[in-house]
């Protein structure tokens, strides 16, 4: 589906969104004031961050945490908080440091 539909004649019938997952084109990463930094050396790949992330922003590869989808992560910090206390593989840092 086209992202910017100009004419009413081009809309799918009935207001449906005729493809899955089109929200990926919408970036919610700029909502963030804190950025999660994932340390793969500390990570034990328990996947707690993955199961609890509300924004599906923990990217896995072969069952291991590969990276964090910063285009969609809103910086809620659930991942860092849920990372086991003895592991602490995710740290929330000020987003301003990256601007």
């Amino acid at each position: 589906m086209k992202e910017n539909i100009n004419s009413w004649k081009d809309l799918p019938i009935g207001g449906i969104v005729d493809e899955p997952g089109t929200a990926m084109a919408y970036k919610t990463g700029d909502w963030r004031t804190l950025r999660p930094i994932h340390n793969s050396e500390k990570c034990i790949n328990c996947l707690a961050c993955w199961i609890y992330c509300p924004d599906s922003a923990i990217i896995l590869k072969d069952g291991k945490v590969e990276s964090i989808d910063l285009e969609h992560c809103k910086g809620c910090g659930i991942c860092a908080h849920e990372c086991p206390p003895k592991v602490k593989a995710i740290e929330m840092v000020d987003e301003a440091d990256f601007r």
Binding site: I5, N6, S7, W8, K9, L11, P12, I13, G14, G15, I16, V17, D18, E19, P20
Partner: protein
């Protein structure tokens, strides 16, 4: 072509049509005087005469909601209701239309409360007249049956894809037995064909999202497309009406004109009163009064131009409304017909622009541009579209 003459009440005739249509899903809640339609149909389900899943819901709101769910899923779906039941569905009527679902409803006209009253008027249907449903009125049991069969083709027409209600007058038709012609199951099924949903939600391999939220950026365009579908329904209704005529013998259009050609006075009405009116016209003609009658069959889309053209040469017109718009301007049929006829007869030019749907902004400049273009069109003797849209992305 096999016709069988049988004695059927309006409700029996509608139930017979639904049996022949053999919808995939029927969802309904009982209400007088439409209750019988579903009661009879339930016996067909119980006897295995149809493939239908019957969902006997706990309210009309849920009946329409379940019907919407079923149709979205990919099933040809029908329901039946009346009066308060239709009123309880109003919210969902708009949604069925907005989602462009070719749902089919057998509606038995009954007055709205308060006071509570079980008998016929058209107030229930009129309450849903701006909901985006096609509305076809029936004069008698035969038309109720014929109209329901045509309704499937009209609603599912690829240029239309809108819900449709076929109405009959409560008790007057719904509970009165009349002789009607029933066509064979095979011929009805050939006529309606099989339902091919555009993008069924059950197709999990091609997941779709139905019922999303629009902001100012898209709502107007979605509604514009919906309006176009209603406009397209006019051709579909005529096309299907003609094909029905060539197959079953009785052709249908937007209206039926009775002794109208030389009429000095004509009555205009909806539903069963048209039959009574024809007898009145005959009696008046015997008394030397050139009377005529125009029965409006299709109320949505409103065939404004066609009705105005047909009544152009009739000097005296009397519109009979079986509902009151409570607008201090008479009944809805009167108001709409009057508007349709005004264009040809008035000294004014009155145009209409639909704007601002879904919160779309309207700016000073746009209003200036619109009004000045109307003035300059008038000055230059140019025509200007009577109805149009302002601010939609064409």
């Amino acid at each position: 072509m096999g016709k069988t003459r049988v004695a059927r009440t309006g409700n029996e005739a509608m139930a017979e049509a639904i049996r022949q249509i053999n919808p995939d899903v029927v969802a309904a809640y009982p209400i007088t005087p439409a209750t019988e339609v579903m009661q009879i149909f339930a016996t067909y389900v119980a006897d295995g005469l149809v493939d239908t899943e019957l969902v006997p819901t706990e309210s009309e709101h849920s009946a329409m909601s379940a019907a919407i769910g079923a149709q979205v899923a990919g099933a040809r779906t029908m329901t039946a209701t009346s009066s308060q039941g239709l009123a309880l569905m109003y919210e969902m009527l708009y949604i069925a239309a907005g989602l462009r679902l070719p749902l089919i409803m057998a509606e038995v006209n009954r007055a709205l409360s308060a006071p509570i009253n079980i008998h016929c008027d058209h107030g229930d249907t009129m309450g849903g007249r701006d909901a985006g449903w096609i509305q076809i009125f029936s004069e008698n049991s035969q038309e109720a049956y014929d109209n329901l069969i045509q309704a499937v083709r009209i609603a599912e027409h690829s240029d239309v894809l809108l819900p449709i209600m076929v109405t009959t007058d409560g008790f007057i038709i719904s509970h009165a037995m009349e002789d009607i012609d029933i066509y064979s199951d095979g011929e009805v099924r050939d006529f309606i064909g099989t339902y091919k949903p555009l993008q069924p939600a059950l197709d999990y391999k091609k997941p779709i999202t139905v019922g999303s939220i629009d902001f100012v950026d898209y709502y107007f365009e979605h509604r514009r497309a919906l309006a176009q579908a209603m406009s397209n329904a006019k051709n579909a209704i005529l096309e299907v009406g003609r094909e029905f005529g060539s197959k079953f013998g009785q052709e249908y259009g937007f209206y039926e004109a009775y002794k109208l050609d030389d009429a000095e006075v004509a009555m205009v009405c909806l539903g069963s009163t048209a039959g009574t009116g024809k007898d009145a016209v005959d009696n008046l003609r015997k008394r030397g009064i050139k009377a005529g009658l125009l029965k409006v069959r299709v109320f949505r889309p409103f065939p404004a131009e066609e009705l105005a053209a047909r009544l152009k040469d009739v000097p005296q017109i009397c519109v009979l409304d079986r509902s009151d718009a409570l607008a201090a301007t008479g009944g809805p049929l009167y108001a709409e017909l009057l508007a349709a006829m005004f264009e040809d007869r008035a000294d004014h030019t009155v145009i209409n622009r639909i704007y601002g749907l879904g919160g779309r902004d309207i700016k000073v400049g746009e209003i200036e541009e619109l009004l000045s273009s109307q003035v300059s069109a008038a000055a230059g003797g140019k025509s200007i579209d009577r109805i149009g849209y302002l601010g939609v992305r064409e």
